[in-house]
Symmetry: C2
Subunit: 359 residues, 2 copies
Amino acid sequence: MNGQPRVALLCEGLFTTTTAKTAIGALRYAPYRIVAVVDSTREGVDASAVLGSGVGSGVPVVASLAVARGLGVDVLLVGTAAAGGRLPASYRPILAEALAAGIEVWSGLHERVLDDPDLAAAADRGGARVRELREPPRELPVGGHRTRRGGTRVVLTVGSDASVGKMTASLELARALARAGRRALFVATGQTGIAIAGDGISVDAVISDFVAGAAEQMVCDAAEQADWVIVEGQGSLTHPGFSAVTLGLLHGSAPDDLVLCHDASRVRMKGHDDLPLRSLDELVRIYETAAAWSRHPDAEPARVRAVALNTAALASSAASAAVAAATTLTGLPAADPVREGSAGADRIARALLMGAHAG
Amino acid sequence: MNGQPRVALLCEGLFTTTTAKTAIGALRYAPYRIVAVVDSTREGVDASAVLGSGVGSGVPVVASLAVARGLGVDVLLVGTAAAGGRLPASYRPILAEALAAGIEVWSGLHERVLDDPDLAAAADRGGARVRELREPPRELPVGGHRTRRGGTRVVLTVGSDASVGKMTASLELARALARAGRRALFVATGQTGIAIAGDGISVDAVISDFVAGAAEQMVCDAAEQADWVIVEGQGSLTHPGFSAVTLGLLHGSAPDDLVLCHDASRVRMKGHDDLPLRSLDELVRIYETAAAWSRHPDAEPARVRAVALNTAALASSAASAAVAAATTLTGLPAADPVREGSAGADRIARALLMGAHAG
């Protein structure tokens, strides 16, 4: 296909705010056109009627792929992520229909679409492609051997833990920089981000020797098309299981600027009740220190420029207090880029633009 | 096979000090019995006549696998690592002969033995197993969810760069601790180490999400059998390409003690001429700092207890000066555990034993 594809979101029986995370992300942030959500149990309404807050406005929920095809569909994106990562049984006939009709399928699930013999046969019949979003490219370089285009600025979101809002902060930040007139590009490093961007590498699925190389490749490619490259972070340097991913991404993307992300309601590491999170000021030191290790000692250091808080779990007054406390603790601008709307992300973007100006 | 296997080393045409790195490592350190080296171009001598310094003493170089089989062989280990990691053509008939005879083959090369249809057919015929030493297990856990047996002490070797002698230092250290009467076990994390130990996981070939989990699994298993677990380090936290592997190993193995390894002749990162190595005192801070990140703030910190230098490229006086300088710079005991023989490794082991005593 040329240019941006026309995408339908497959959410059969599951188009709810709690189960359709990928679909919601795509409706909120995707650069491509979304023509319909497929869910026969909710057909006939506007997607925004299900999701609220205006997300999905103008996108119809339809009963079948056939109806969506009438609206013009190039790609069918699996819009939900079930626990265990299996393809729901209700999806299989719809996926088979799409593949037999030559419609490309994108899936971020663990179970591979073409491992189902019926779906593989349908794809053969229709000559349709399947993009497994979690599956990294076969050939990746070792990091440290490519230099990106001069004059670009690279921002990496880093976090106090996994799942604190790094993807959302990155997407909001790319939008805020675009609002400020900058050529900004979001670089996706996880399956939901890839489904949204339509491109990227799931770095946690990359062989450890090539994590930095994968990040470097994505950043260098993005720097050919944009002046600001916003890289979606993963995990945390303080996470006992995922820190390898985080350091590979930090060294490979070689950012100029960091934005520290934190879920303001979280005090312990997710899945590790005995492990308190590090304080925000300590995390600033940790990330700036680690970023410098793989650089020449005289190189410009990466600096944390702002804090992006996720205050979704807090009441309004507690959220404001958390934002103020983050600034007091770190001396940096802080915002919740979702709760505060564009004003929040713009505050973070201003900190980045000032940092770039200061050099 | 029960207990330790009887192993022949396949080095056909390549049994030299520069090409047979895996074979030399095995002859020096392997716990299993090596019955012969197969190299028809050097047959009839003792392996030590080729290698010098007594390594391989008592192990004959033989003309063929048939001769080796007369000495009793359970396993044929590929003893060389050609650039590119391909199986040399001269190895294929010998591997086919072994597999057809039911002899297990171990290989650390990139090219998989059973990808050669002739070798796959031979293995089928002989019912022989192939162990691809670089290939990690299919199922690995995420790190941070298993606690090792209390009372064990875990030592990880860390480095100023890749390829500075971490494997050798680890092996010498395990021996020195055994000499001191401790139950010590070497944990291999790279292909040569695995060929030597006969066990282990090549962590740089593990998906990044599971590097820490792989290290944790190996360490916890080893701690069931030993009081001192010596983990072979990989890469460096300061390496632009491989730091992800290093941090995953550091957090997953959760060491009590670190031994800092450095090639005393190296001043720039291997493969990165523009990147000076960090000083030893700075590296001590870097590793101790990073080790703490994934732990509870009140947990016992990991400490660098000694410096293991590789002075192979230096003249004798320069080597002594380098050892003295390392101690001056770091305030830690330093030694070249190869050049100084057992006295060197014993010095490092004493530092570890004192560290354990101090708690």
